[in-house]
């Protein structure tokens, strides 16, 4: 194959990979035109946020091979960062005496704790919602990957760490709102623009963040670092023998994934209008894994759609308790089937169908096809 041809093939492959992202983002932005109901729009925004969270897991799990069972930890940190800032913005009626949040007054806290102080600045909170999860992930990643802990043990450590943080938040009621979380928040206002949870502005904010997350994650998977991360997933030892610092790459993808889920957490607080310990609970964390697996862990768009569809379906059925319970049962069965027979999820199914169509229409293009198949075989 001449270099020119290969670069052309590369370009068309790039096009084929970015097309689904463009289509999905366009649909997301067009949704408010179809959905003429603020309540419904808010619900959809919620599913989109969960979609962002699932993209972040696809990055670390599907591409990095790191099954993070505590993905919701970064999500929760982001969510609390936003909630703390918005709580301090509430009008004095809600905040009790001296600008203290109401739950602190109920718990006889005399003055604002030091770690609440900086959250009086919204800018700080917005930065913290992304940077703190990334820093925590870097620390945890350093702790895990520098000692070459792999596989199942990574999952146990991430899960246990999240449970610890969850327990601490519930236990320290006077500083965190405990089991109830942080409620009665002010509206987010950036540069004079108010983001009402049920308004269009919030929906477009979420849609923009979906696009941003998809593009950042996609760019990373196409970068050199992203390729090395995928190589580490497939064979850690070989990459190490080539002289790469395996742990550094793992820590990076771990932190990037945490930053994205921190962003999702902040949006979740805006859309839900509260923050709660359940946002970093085991239940949510495992649900994210399910969404990711069903949608396709090795496809960013697939993972995103998996979350939106499954969570959306669950939400739609939750009107009736009997439906919901049956649905949970069906969900469990579906999940087992996907794990057993569709390791690449629905995205893998779609890719297979697409390849089948292309193959039938253009039998002459054997070269690209065999490249595709060779990649398939090595994965």
């Amino acid at each position: 194959m001449s270099p020119k041809m290969s670069s052309q093939a590369g370009l068309s492959r790039l096009g084929a990979q970015i097309a689904p992202i463009v289509i999905v983002c366009a649909i997301v932005f067009a949704l408010p035109l179809i959905l003429n109901n603020d309540f419904l729009l808010n619900k959809v925004a919620r599913y989109l946020v969960l979609g962002i969270l699932t993209i972040s897991l696809a990055l670390s799990w599907g591409f990095g091979g790191i099954l993070n069972l505590g993905q919701a930890m970064s999500f929760g940190i982001g969510s609390y960062a936003m909630a703390m800032a918005l709580k301090l913005k509430t009008v004095p009626v809600h905040t009790g005496s001296g600008g203290l949040p109401d739950f602190m007054v109920w718990n006889n806290v005399a003055r604002l704790p030091w770690f609440w102080e900086p959250f009086k600045s919204l800018g700080f909170a917005l930065a913290a919602g992304i940077i703190v999860p990334a820093l925590v992930a870097t620390g945890l990643g350093w702790f895990i990957f520098r000692s070459r802990v792999t596989g199942v043990y990574v999952s146990i450590i991430t899960l246990a760490t999240m449970v610890v943080l969850n327990l601490v938040i519930i236990d320290q009621q006077s500083y965190t709102g405990g089991f109830n979380g942080i409620t009665d928040l002010a509206q987010l206002e950036i540069f004079g623009m108010a983001f009402d949870a049920y308004g269009r502005a919030t929906f477009y904010l979420v849609a923009s963040c979906v696009t941003l997350s998809l593009l950042v994650a996609f760019a990373f998977t196409r970068s050199k670092a992203g390729l090395i991360v995928q190589a580490i997933r497939d064979h850690e030892g070989r990459v190490r023998y080539f002289g790469y610092d395996v742990a550094a790459y793992q820590i990076f993808v771990f932190a990037l994934s945490a930053a994205i889920s921190g962003l999702a957490g902040m949006l979740y607080t805006v859309v839900m209008e509260f923050a709660s310990p359940t946002f970093l609970g085991v239940q949510l964390s495992l649900s994210v894994v399910v969404w990711c697996a069903v949608g396709g862990r090795q496809s960013l768009v697939g993972a995103f759609l998996g979350a939106v569809l499954v969570a959306g379906m669950q939400g739609a059925l939750s009107e009736s308790a009997a439906f919901l319970e049956t649905w949970t049962l069906v969900m469990g069965a579906l999940f087992v089937l996907v794990v057993l027979f569709l390791p690449k999820g629905l995205a893998g199914l779609a890719q297979g169908a697409w390849r089948w169509i292309v193959e039938r229409r253009r039998p002459s293009r054997g070269v690209t096809q065999s490249v595709g198949e060779a990649r398939e075989g090595s994965a």
Partner: protein, 289 residues
């Protein structure tokens, strides 16, 4: 001093329940490499079987123990046969598959029996308390401790003194070589999983008089039991025993000094640090991986 002994006994009691749940998990994980997140659901099924036998057949807890073991083991065997045996050499996927199975079991029970709390009666012969080192301890807890040790002994004998155990140990070393010597890997795996599930069912049945029975009662146990297995070392039964009682005493002591939440958080943190520095567990001598 009395308080000290009381703490020790509380710890032993927590530890024996932990061990009971962890024993089955340890066997399944240690010998098959399956991270069984449905283990808590087997515990729950055991508790529900106890309730079922008591309410509909009038059988006391002690009389139905064997039946409960058989019922839950059979369910475990079916799951191994039709789900897990399809997942050879994909240990991370077993986490996902067993979690899905767990949801199905939990939801199935919720749909069939309802999500109300159920109660199982203490066996009348064990409802009084007895004197241990000058302290009054509930007889049932002493009984639990005894049963736990007996089950541990039985498991150890099965593994180390029977042909079945020998086959299993051969498979643990190297499945393909074991298979070439004529050992039926699939059937041994099926029986092992069934045995582990049965043990979990017994644990659930034995715990049921102490706690209320509900469809999601197993969730808490599986995390704790998993920590026991990790702490004890994956392929070491004796390690599992030691770590169950260490964790029991530890959480008992910290809960006494601080509170339950702090105890749980500290124990989890300790385990995270332990995995970092000794992923093979505290009590394992390196075996062939």
């Amino acid at each position: 001093m009395d308080q000290f002994f009381e703490q020790i006994i509380t710890g032993l009691s927590i530890g024996s329940i932990l061990l009971l749940v962890a024993l089955g998990l340890s066997i399944i994980y240690g010998s098959m490499g399956i991270i069984n997140l449905a283990h808590g659901e087997f515990v729950m099924l055991g508790a529900y079987s106890a309730w079922l036998f008591q309410t509909y057949f009038g059988l006391g807890l002690l009389a139905s123990l064997v039946l409960i073991f058989v019922v839950v083991a059979a369910i475990g065997w079916i799951i191994e046969r039709f789900v897990l045996s399809l997942l050879n050499n994909r240990p991370l996927d077993t986490i996902l598959a067993t979690w899905g199975v767990g949801i199905m079991l939990q939801q199935g029970v919720r749909l069939l029996v309802g999500s109300e709390l159920r109660y199982v009666q203490l066996p009348p012969s064990l409802s009084d308390s007895m004197d241990v080192f000058g302290l009054s301890v509930s007889s049932y807890r002493v009984f639990l401790f005894g049963v736990t040790l007996a089950l541990f002994a039985a498991t150890w004998l099965l593994l180390n003194r029977t042909t079945m155990g020998m086959k299993l140990r051969a498979i643990m070393q190297e499945p393909s070589v074991a298979a070439s010597f004529g050992i039926n890997v699939r059937s041994v795996h099926g029986i092992t999983f069934a045995y582990g599930a049965g043990l979990a069912g017994l644990a659930g049945a034995l715990v049921s008089p102490l706690k209320s029975v509900s469809p999601d009662m197993g969730t808490g146990y599986v995390v704790d039991a998993f920590m026991v297995v990790v702490l004890g070392g994956v392929q070491s039964l004796a390690g599992t025993v030691a770590s169950a009682f260490i964790l029991g005493e530890l959480s008992g002591a910290i809960a006494f000094l601080q509170n339950d939440t702090v105890a749980k958080a500290l124990v989890l943190l300790a385990i995270v640090v332990l995995i970092r520095f000794r992923p093979e567990g505290l009590f394992t001598t390196r075996v062939r991986a």
